[in-house]
Amino acid sequence: MKPFAELLDRLVFTPARNGKLRHLAAYFEATPDPQRGYALAALTGALSFRAAKAGQVRALVESRVDPVLFRWSYDFVGDLAETVALIWPQRPGANRPPDLAEVVETLREAKRDEVPGLLEGWLDALDSDGRWALLKLITGGLRIGVSARLAKTGLAEWRGAELSEIEEIWHGLEPPYTELFAWLEGRAPKPEIDRRAVFHPLMLANPLEDGDLAKLSAEDYLAEWKWDGIRVQLAAGGGQARLFSRSGDEISHTFPDIVEAAGFDAVLDGELLVLREGEVAPFNDLQQRLNRKSVTAKLLDAHPAHLRLYDILHRGEDDLRPLSLAERRDVLEAWYRETLPQRMDLSPLVPFETWDDLAALRAEARQNGIEGLMLKRRDSAYQAGRPKGPWFKWKRDALLLDTVLMYAQRGHGKRSSFYSDYTFGTWRAGAEGEELVPVGKAYFGFTDEELKRLDKWVRDHTTERFGPVRAVAPGLVLEVAFDAVQRSKRHKSGLAMRFPRIHRIRWDKPAAEADRLESLEKLVEE
């Protein structure tokens, strides 16, 4: 565990990308199989074992230390793994510390109720850094500022290989990747993998900036709605199907309903949505499905996933990426008519002649599920990455509301010394005159300088403290931007904002002049 813990520690503290790559390369060079392979799997999120739940870790630590002191410590540190690693009472003379492979392989075989006991024994045997690495690993998601892509880049640069060569075969390989390391070290040929159902890097759009339209001619472009879901790639062939997120992470296990519907041979680009009776559900419904390792039948039933298709990269053996968008669109439509797959439909083209037509459509688009428009050049080939020019996203304007800061909470991670999460409200008539009712929470949209000033303002205007939360006197107006507002039974105000962020801090504006709840009501899309 020690070399792995040291690697994580170095990665955490090394700010520069190149420095991180050097640490990765040095680790792969110095560490034998299968340890390095499991480390690579941990960094790329490719490990699967029965992870410990945060709740189990908390129960374990609370059985060993005063729960009150633990909670305060957690509030202060802001990270569960780190808090437990630091607070865990040493037990000198405990067992031999485990290595990474032992932890991974043991957990893979472990039954659910064996996990806490294993964890406790390991925590006793490791030092604080080792405990931290173990907890990061075992609670899933290292979150140390290293993406799967960066880890693979480190691997490629270590031996001077091409990243794309690794990416191409990646999804056909399994931890601890001994044949991959053998190939990179020149001891074996490149691993043979099943070439179907693998990830193809995506083509991404740039945001449309002011003045861009004036330089473009409308007849060169096709327009589609920009759907409020997540961008995915469905790769199917040879009886296999895999669903990938934008960054190439496999999410098949989270969306078995989509994967089951992919009994064809094609690679498709589209938007993943939750759809009920043909209507796109609020993003929050899709959120319920994301980030789950397994899904229940109930969830599948209540939150049915749907794929809205807008591009096709492969049909059977044919690589369509060199074709123009207009040609690919024809293939996509023909393929769809022949195949008629379940849980999928085509994202329609939005007809227009001039940019003004399109601007008018965009201004009216306020129904659920639409975030704005996509503009794509008719003649654009499918290029990996984010080429400047062929594709643009043109989000609709945000809604704005002047709200009053009510509560602030200490942030986590880098912001754990700042009050950086803000709950804001609007005015309404209460039993004893005007009162504020909370309407949302936001924790970004401001600069570091503004954060310092907000933090100071919160400290100077605190009226009550509840653990990491402070109530403040109604005196600061926050202009909040949000994409939509929906009815919600879970919120006191009966309304929930979509994607709220701080747009402007109105240091100048008296709190009494902030907006009223009725103003927000009027913006609800029924």
């Binding site: 002191l69 305060w72 410590s73 540190v77 808090t83 607070i87 931290w132 991670g413 880098k414």
Partner: protein, 355 residues
């Protein structure tokens, strides 16, 4: 100790200016200028300028003079460790606190009750100052800067070892260590010397005055050189000490590929260390960690514990669980900024509020 009928809080009070001893008519570490001040040590959140009469250890008075010059107080009354002085019927004495050179616990006795105001303290040995002395008392006023059980400072030698290891790994780089001007910088030098490091150690100009003073007061620190005027190449593989605020400053551009280390108790928490931009966090603190704080409560065996600056609530909770009458004391000027890591205060005033 014989307990009198009067309650301590009737004669030792928290006021906006600081902790006030009514019968003696003096303040301990007041936040604003007062007529009579008893000062525990030279850090700026304890020793402020502008008092009329100042009672402190000789070393603390020297430190105040070095920092404040004419504003260090109109009348200075030095009082060595172990001696006492009567101030309006209150007996005042100093016992070593082990925090920085000259740091003391103020021992106040009145009508048969003894109160110890610990100031800031640590229990582990420090080559640059006298070690903490346990003074049994009725009321113990303790700091709680690191008053959470996540703070368990590792042995100093281990941390210094990391610095020396990094020097070997990156011979082409310069090791730039952020350390507060009073106490931390000199202790770090002392620890490096104790680890056998005998090369010259290079100093940012802001560290010179107090480091010179330490040597004048009898703390040998080996060969020290200013960074000023040296060529980049001369600093490869060398250890450079600077106040934390200088780490990200343009000043550091004169150094060859500096590897930034930061010596502070806050470095225990990774996220905090990252926030401070440390590439090599060194957990070296001049404050007691959780184990030292709790051990000290048992050692002084006071029936009452007052807890100030830091994570008061956690230590109060712990002390009550151990059967002490405990309460949190909210002293202005040493409040939240320290608890939160003192980031803002430290960044603006290098050398103050050492942790």
């Amino acid at each position: 100790m014989k307990a009198a009928n009067s309650r301590t809080e009737d004669w030792l009070k928290v006021t906006p200016k600081g902790l006030y001893c009514e019968p003696g008519d003096f303040y301990v570490d007041p936040a604003r200028p007062v007529a009579r001040a008893v000062i525990t040590h030279g850090h700026a959140d304890h020793a402020r300028p502008g008092h009329d009469a100042v009672l402190a250890t000789p070393e603390t008075l020297e430190i105040m003079k070095a920092r404040y010059g004419d504003a260090a107080g109109r009348r200075h009354q030095p009082l060595a460790y172990g001696r006492t002085q009567d101030v309006g019927g209150v007996t005042v004495g100093f016992a070593p606190a082990g925090h920085v050179l000259g740091s003391a616990q103020a021992v106040l006795e009145w009508q048969g009750r003894r109160v110890v105001v610990s100031g800031d303290y640590k229990r582990r040995p420090d080559p640059t100052c006298a070690g903490f002395e346990v003074v049994p008392c009725d009321v113990f006023i303790t700091e709680a800067t690191f008053g959470l059980p996540v703070f368990r400072h590792p042995p100093d030698a281990e941390e210094v070892g990391k610095l020396l290891q990094a020097r070997e790994t990156f011979p082409e780089r310069c090791l730039l260590v952020g350390a507060y001007a009073l106490g931390k910088a000199q202790r770090l030098i002392g620890l490096l010397r104790a680890a056998g490091y005998d090369r010259p150690i290079y100093l940012h100009g802001a560290l010179k005055k107090l480091t010179d003073l330490y040597e004048t007061l009898g703390v040998p620190l080996g060969e020290l050189r200013p960074v000023l005027g040296l060529a980049k190449a001369e600093l490869k593989g060398e250890i450079v000490l600077a106040p934390p605020s200088a780490l990200a400053d343009r000043w550091s551009r004169r150094l060859p590929e500096p590897l930034t280390a930061m010596a502070s108790g806050w470095m225990t928490v990774r996220q905090r260390a990252r926030q401070r931009g440390a590439e090599l966090p060194l957990v070296i603190s001049d404050h007691a960690d959780w184990d030292e704080l709790t051990r000290t409560l048992e050692d002084v065996a006071a029936s009452e514990v007052w807890v100030t600056h830091g994570n008061e609530e956690a230590l109060v909770h712990y002390a009550r669980g151990r059967g002490f009458a405990a309460r949190a004391l909210s002293l202005l000027g040493r409040g939240e900024e320290e608890q939160e890591g003192g980031d803002a205060a430290e960044a603006e005033t290098p050398g103050e509020g050492a942790a």
